[in-house]
């Protein structure tokens, strides 16, 4: 068996500029899909998480239903639903990119909403009492007191979920959006070099997800001083021990 790694060099522009970044005639692009999906998914996730925590049943139960529904269905199914429903509702065919983005935001918001809920629940109750006693409204309390602490607590799980979302964007290739996976598929069909192609994009995906995962580990250490003292605190401790 012989390998032909030159195939990657010969097609790097198409794979990385078009497939990964989304610059080119086909639109799409893994990063161009993943970044807005992460931002919009997080915003919708905060809304879903807050609704799930609400006391009013007509806000609480729809949010529970939303989360449980999307967590019980494969993402492929959700993408097919939007692929079929959007033209029915709007009366026109939208580009694959828009369909994929909508499906990802709606789907991932269910998972992100659960993380947001857990993060908010991890904030001590006394904070709510203190904020209320201080005369803050619900909105002020959430924005200035609860959410900043909650986001700190949920950062590691959030980044983990963003990694999942980044990997999930490969599914946009199923409805024909030109992302990294679709680009590799196209090249591999033309050149009949599937081994080299798929291994190459595996490495490209890995570089992104692994750096995100290391970042999440770093954040986890950084943000929990009670479990792992920062280097500076350790040095301070050592200095105190030395002078005592």
């Amino acid at each position: 068996m012989s390998f032909d790694w030159g195939i990657i060099l010969a097609n790097w522009k198409f794979l990385l500029l078009q497939g990964l970044m989304g610059f080119g005639a086909f639109g799409g692009g893994t990063l161009r899909l993943a970044i807005p999906a992460i931002v919009l998914g997080f915003i919708l996730g905060v809304i879903v998480g807050l609704c799930r925590l609400a006391h009013r049943p007509w806000i609480h139960y729809p949010a529970v239903l939303y989360v449980e529904f999307f967590r019980g269905v494969p993402l492929v199914m959700v993408i097919f639903w939007f692929w079929f429903l959007i033209p029915q509702i709007t009366g026109q065919r939208l580009p694959e990119y828009t369909v994929a983005l909508t499906a990802f935001v709606v789907f991932e918001a269910a998972y992100l909403g659960e993380i947001v809920r857990a993060g908010i629940q991890s904030v001590p109750r006394g904070q709510i009492d203190a904020a209320t006693a201080g005369g803050l409204s619900y909105g002020q309390m959430m924005v200035h007191v609860i959410l900043p602490q909650a986001i700190r607590n949920m950062m590691p799980s959030l980044v983990t979920q963003f990694i999942v979302l980044f990997k999930d964007t490969s599914l946009a290739s199923i409805i024909g959006m030109m992302d990294l996976t679709k680009a590799a598929q196209t090249v591999s069909q033309r050149e009949i070099r599937p081994f080299e192609m798929y291994l190459f994009i595996a490495v490209v995906y890995w570089i992104f997800t692994y750096s995100m995962s290391r970042f999440s580990q770093w954040l986890e250490v950084r943000m929990s001083p009670e479990r792992a003292p920062t280097r500076r605190a350790a040095l301070r401790e050592a200095a105190r021990a030395a002078t005592a």
Binding site: M1, E68, F69, R71, G72, V73, P74, L75, V76, M77, F80, W81, F84, Q88, I89, G91, S157, T160, Q161, I163, V164, K167, D168, T169, S170, L171, S173, I174, T181, A184, Q185, S188, P194, F195, E196, M197, Y198, L199, I201, A202, Y205, W206, T209, Y210, S213
Partner: protein, 249 residues
């Protein structure tokens, strides 16, 4: 069937497409393939997960590095890429006999089994590792202090407790595997999503076909989750509030 207003548009519901002709049979076959694919993937992923999880703790660096490489590389790349890799890319490098066996027994199905197992094995090993690591070291020391050998302590104390601790994250991960088996449609495995799409293609009744597929997945997931909820309650360790960290991505 009456013409019904559907999001302000006219849509003619025909639920009968789900059971007329071959279609009911297709759905049942799709469910069967999904369950078979997931069950096989689950068994192999569990074995790979235990193996990789154990190898990451042995006091022999090359094996540890190998296991860490496996886990970190395979779980951080999209499953779809792995499916294409195992179906289109890898078989040419397998020994002749393996290739023949694949071709004889349905190369799509078995590539999907390999892809799911290797990907979810890497993820499962993280769940198992988190379970073992969440057990305090002092428990092992206490067991040894009562006169058990290290082997006995592992067999009688540590592993039973670790298994009870990982029931919730392992359930979560198993459901992920079941849902992820839907990706096998991209390499032509006739599982549930594939069959719903096929009914849609033959009848042009997308709403009904997708509803059927979606509801079946929901029933499978909610069913397994509630059974495992019972199992979890039965095996719960009294006095513990903290659950082991959820399965990572």
């Amino acid at each position: 069937m009456p013409v019904t207003a559907f999001f302000g548009l006219q849509y003619d519901f025909q639920w009968s497409v789900l059971w007329t002709g071959e279609h009911g049979h297709w759905l049942v076959q799709g469910i069967w393939t999904t369950l078979r694919l997931s069950a096989l993937g689950w068994v192999f992923a569990g074995l790979l997960g235990i193996l990789a999880g154990a190898l990451r703790t042995v006091p022999f660096a090359p094996l540890r590095v190998l296991a860490t490489f496996y886990v970190e590389f395979f779980r951080n790349v999209p499953l779809l890429v792995w499916l294409f890799f195992w179906y289109f890319g890898a078989p040419q490098f397998f020994p002749r006999t393996v290739q023949d066996w694949f071709n004889l027994h349905g190369p799509e199905f078995w590539s999907a089994v390999v892809g799911l197992s290797v990907y979810h094995g890497a993820r499962m090993s993280e769940v198992i590792r988190a379970g073992i690591q969440s057990i305090p070291k002092t428990l092992l020391e206490a067991s040894v202090a009562t006169g058990l050998s290290v082997g006995q302590a592992y067999r009688l104390i540590i592993i039973p407790i670790a298994l009870r601790l990982i029931v919730p994250p392992a359930t979560n991960e198993s459901l992920n595997l079941l849902k992820n088996s839907s990706l096998a449609l991209t390499i032509g495995v006739a599982e549930l999503t594939f069959m719903s799409r096929q009914i849609e293609t033959y009848t042009a009744k997308a709403f009904e076909a997708l509803t059927a597929g979606t509801l079946i997945y929901l029933v499978l997931c909610v069913g397994i989750a509630s059974v495992m909820g019972q199992v979890e309650r039965y095996f719960r360790i009294p006095g513990l509030i903290a659950r082991v960290g959820r399965a990572e991505h």
